[in-house]
Amino acid sequence: MFQAILATSPMLSDIQAFLPEIYLTVGLLLVVIIDLLPGMTDRRIPALLSLVGLAFAARVLWQQMSGEPRIEAFGGLFVVDRFALFFKLFTTIAVTVVILYSLAWKRLESRMGEYYLVLMSAVLGIFVLVSSQHLLMVYIGLELLSIPSYILTGYFKNQRKSSEASLKYVIYGSVASGTMLYGFSLLYGLTGTLRLDEIGPALAQAFSESGNPEATALAFLMVLAGFGYKIAAVPFHYWLPDVYQGAPIPITTFLAVASKAAGFGVLLRYMYLVYGAPGALATLSDVDVVAWVDKLSLLIGIVAAVTMTLGNLAALRQKNVVRLLAYSSIAHAGYLLMGVAVIGSSGLEAVLFYLVAYLIMTLGAFGMVIYLSNSVKSEEIEDFRGAGWKAPIVCGAFVMCLVSLVGLPPTAGFVGKWMLFRGVIESGMLWLAVVAGLNSAISLYYYFRVAKALFLEKSEKEYTLKRSPVMAAIIIGLSVLVVYYGLRFGGLIDLVQQANLFAAVQ
């Protein structure tokens, strides 16, 4: 009914494109109101409201998915296309699982209204970010995602580690976003517009007329710093291990999955609109421009190689499983950047596919950490010794997720990696594929160290694992999905092809 009213006025059709965000906002406000009402102390109520808000949003997203392929709203500031919808549905699924994890994790008890309120604002930030087609909207989205992330990281106010992580995150984040804003202002100076879809052609025109590679490169690097911090690519990754370890584990899961994917979403859209779209730089046949775009792609390739190598090497020495997963998430950002380095259709599809695989297996891995840490009250690998035989099915499912994180068949991680490798080899960066292959071999060691601790080592102290049917069901379900998409990946590839920005133009 609401939609019927909205459809009556052309001005309101913009709001219709914005409906998922409005539902999220309403859910968020309800969480605030419930938090104020006396007697509403049950910690499940705000979680439930958030889930309802997400469900309403998901319903509209689903309708939009089968509606028009591309809607521009608010004068082109905001765009709803398959690419944005892909990331929004991705986020919805990730956050739903994160909320379930938050309910299951025993250490979250007080101030739950605040927690979900802030979490939902971060989700709203992601929704805005992946739909924005204007540099100011990108900035607003990024801040709307970042500020709640800082708060959530420091959620345990009384824990030193948590507060320290939060402070590091704030300082690092503000410097990165400041640098990015400077990059935006340079882009504006070069092109005279803030709309991403106009920047590409304007930049190409400026480039072919006067050639100003230095300023363009500087602008690009500065913007990359902002996005690089969000996805934790290597020179901008210092915050990540501390933040992941200091934050509540469900929030770590959120940062590792949803926030990172959003960073990739906006990076891909930016790369596409500014460099790859029709009329933008990569489409010019000018020799200088081709050489310049090649250099750009080489630069991202180098960042990718360094990111994955550093992530994997640092993960080798970790004793804490959350820290291990943190470095592994840096390594995975490196793998994903391989697809970004290929400024083209196959790279983009590979990134999207790998993101889905990454979503499933990372959720599974963090789910297991929550499951075990509820019982052993620790996240050290040595404390998990021998847990495998206490809950063989769940731990087996977890090992399946680890197999996928390594990238071995028959898992979704393997298919995703294969697509990424194919993309970089096709675009002539064989060296990058070799580096990534070596990295996968390294990662085998530390992932299986966890598996070994679970199944092949004996615990020194006696403990019992607390049963948690919901968590077990989620982890087993995720591992089944990992294997399913490793064997029958056709449907997922169709979805990814629909979300391909490059395909949408033709």
Binding site: L29, E109, E214, A215
Partner: protein, 169 residues
């Protein structure tokens, strides 16, 4: 060319050079007769009072943050008021008025939230904190009697210490 890099570079170098040269010339020319009076920090000719790194009450920040609610409200209401007549002429007056009501009530909700959480009281409501801690403790006790349940979280402990401190005041 959009930027004339050479100009920028020259400007930069001259800027650095100007400061450097003046400092060198000054140090060569001036007599060096330091005394404690001269070496002390300059505070408008007054005697300096204490170190300059004073502890600044964090509550000022809270007040500043609360002020943002009203600040943002006004910043958005002005353009709205400015274009309201046009919307009214187009027959959308009721709707646009409704929209701004939604906006204002969301901000108002923020104010209510702050009020309820005790952030409007200058002494960040040790009273409210004590009440919250008490409620929390009761909930804890109820839980303990109900089942074994893992507890002894640092959050709980600190809440209780806060309550104890509040009791001292």
């Amino acid at each position: 060319m959009y930027f004339d890099y050479t100009n920028v570079l020259i400007f930069f170098l001259v800027g650095i050079g100007f400061v450097g040269v003046n400092m060198v010339v000054g140090s060569l020319l001036r007599p060096s007769k330091p005394n404690p009076e001269k070496n002390s920090a300059y505070e408008c000719g007054e005697d300096p009072i204490g170190p300059n790194r004073v502890q600044f009450d964090i509550r000022f920040y809270t007040v500043a943050l609360i002020f943002i609610i009203f600040d943002v409200e006004i910043a958005f209401l002005f353009p709205w008021a400015n274009s309201f007549q046009e919307f009214k002429a187009a027959g959308l007056g009721g709707l646009v008025f409704f929209e701004v009501l939604v906006f204002v009530s969301i901000l108002f909700l923020g104010l209510v939230y702050l009020w309820a959480k005790g952030d409007l009281d200058w002494v960040k409501s040790t009273e409210a904190q004590r009440r919250a801690a008490l409620a929390h403790r009761r909930a804890e006790e109820a839980k303990e009697t109900a089942a074994d349940s893992a507890k002894s979280e640092s959050a709980t402990e600190l809440d209780l210490t806060v309550a104890a401190e509040a009791g001292h005041h």
